[in-house]
Symmetry: C2
Subunit: 320 residues, 2 copies
């Protein structure tokens, strides 16, 4: 089966499903939204940037940051969770920015969310949408706190592919991210001097313990030497961080005409040095703000709301 | 690689990880617990029953139900979330019952939780622990509201196996559930006359849309006929419901010496009749209480807290 990329020149978000046209109603069940119950065009038609992340609290914090950075009225503390009717996903809209939690960890959670989010953007007739996954990740040979912009997402065999089971067949999809967007994000990072940012490969695993070579799970059948040899192979292939969603995110967004990027901070640790996460809470919280800060700067530049004079403010923001 | 089941005759919960003994501290990061920060034996040593489910609200509701059914003091409304320091998992303890949310949907979420939960039970020196996953599921040829107790969990190729990626190898694990427990649960169900309960096979898919043959995702490359043919093959193989976690749950629990069962209510719909979920909210809420009610009865019987005179109460509970 061959699948073509979704860009069609008009900037619209594409669904690739011939069945949708014949449905009289589309219930976005896990988002608690629908085409008959909500006017999606009015609610979401102006969306230009979507940020996706794992933790509901973090995505609310990002929405509040954007509220402040875009200079909107009020303190943003009472931002409404658009998906409040479900205890799965959380979603906040701040001007042209949508901040949405992927609910849990790994491919199934983000996959369900992406299917329904993309249909939402399609129904709302959004165009020229940029989507960025911001997250924490484990690091390979780089220091905690480093931000990695993914150029290529690889699977646990270090291949740039995403294997999607469709019915009982396996279809191989290309996890392509937007090259221009990657460069643009790196350029933004050069204006922030408080943390290192790199463009590198990201490895996506199916799980956190055995799949990532963690020695600390309830089950572990390999030696420390085998673990290190595996991580070394990944390092030599260009991988600098490990998470659990990048390949499916890149594959689905690419097929549907969204400009997509993955920006993760190395939060856990340098996996060559250990597996257990013992950094103080406040250090982790500061690390988690770094991708948010980078994306905030990127969005403000796109909206013409940024100038050099704000650099001092940014430094102040990071240090407080 | 061969892996043996975990039962060792002493009823203890087993970890199968030689590295754990040499760790001076075990941080159960995603649960916000640890061996140095918490006295796990005091907190959890009396646990005999663990119930796992997808939704934090539902698992809180189950804990409150158990609080009432075990006749504990107070109304249970202020039950404390033991994992409150994280916005990932939620956990409530009610006497010997632990109710824990698996955070999100699919294998990665439940796998992380199981690794840390099993280490928790191990550190707490728990023994003779029964673990039951209660959930919603899609139905195959059976009516919504039916409760399915899984005898065999199969993957999307209809094989009773769980393929675990360890480093970059695939290890095939047996998703075995406890046969005696399955029968015992069915016997319990015979005392509840308000909903049908069956023992059948359950199919575990990697995702909700393309993997389950849903026609309503952002991407769909197959016809309705192909979808129905696939579901028919599953039906003919004995599958009556579809969810996203059963094989990994059965495999990990079986390896670690936990008596495990999966009890799902068919909540979504009979997939032969459509894909979109349009049942009224209150109907879905009542369905979701059915597995909880069955497990509550099972636990009360084990604790000697149940007699025939309560049947009328049960019927009242279900109808109100």
């Amino acid at each position: 089966m061959t699948e073509r990329k979704g860009y069609a020149g008009n900037g619209l978000v594409h669904v690739k499903n011939p069945h949708l046209d014949s449905m009289d109603e589309d219930v976005l069940y896990h988002l608690n939204l629908g085409t008959k119950t909500h006017n999606l065009t009015v609610m979401f038609g102006d969306i230009k940037f979507v940020c996706v992340g794992g933790s509901p609290n973090r995505m609310k914090a990002f929405a509040q940051l954007m509220h402040k950075e875009l200079g909107l009225e009020g303190d943003g503390k009472d931002l409404k969770d658009i998906c409040a009717g479900t205890d799965r996903y959380s979603m906040y809209k701040v001007g042209p920015v949508l901040s949405i939690s992927q609910h849990g960890m790994g491919i199934p959670c983000i996959s369900i969310m992406l299917h329904e989010l993309i249909k939402l953007l399609h129904h709302a007739k959004c165009h020229d949408v940029t989507i960025i996954r911001i997250s924490t990740s484990g690091g390979l040979g780089i220091d905690p706190g480093t931000v990695v912009i993914t150029d290529i997402a690889v699977d646990s065999s270090l291949k740039a592919r995403f294997e999607q089971v469709i019915l009982d067949n396996i279809v191989v999809r290309s996890p392509e991210l937007d090259k221009d967007l990657v460069e643009e994000l790196l350029n933004c990072s050069k204006e922030i001097h408080d943390f290192p940012t790199l463009i590198r490969h990201t490895m996506r695993t199916y799980d956190f313990y055995e799949g990532q070579g963690q020695l600390g799970g309830a089950l572990c059948s390999f030696s420390n030497e085998k673990k290190l040899a595996y991580l070394k192979r990944a390092y030599n292939a260009g991988v600098r961080n490990i998470e659990m969603e990048s390949t499916v995110f890149a594959a689905i967004c690419g097929l549907c005409g969204l400009k997509a990027a993955v920006v993760c901070v190395v939060c856990v640790l340098n996996r060559f040095e250990g597996d257990q996460m013992k950094a103080p809470h406040e250090v982790l919280v500061e690390y988690q703000r770094r991708p948010q800060h980078l994306i905030s700067l990127f969005i403000k530049k796109h909206l013409g709301l940024y100038n050099q004079m704000e650099l001092l403010d940014n430094a102040f923001f990071l240090n407080n």
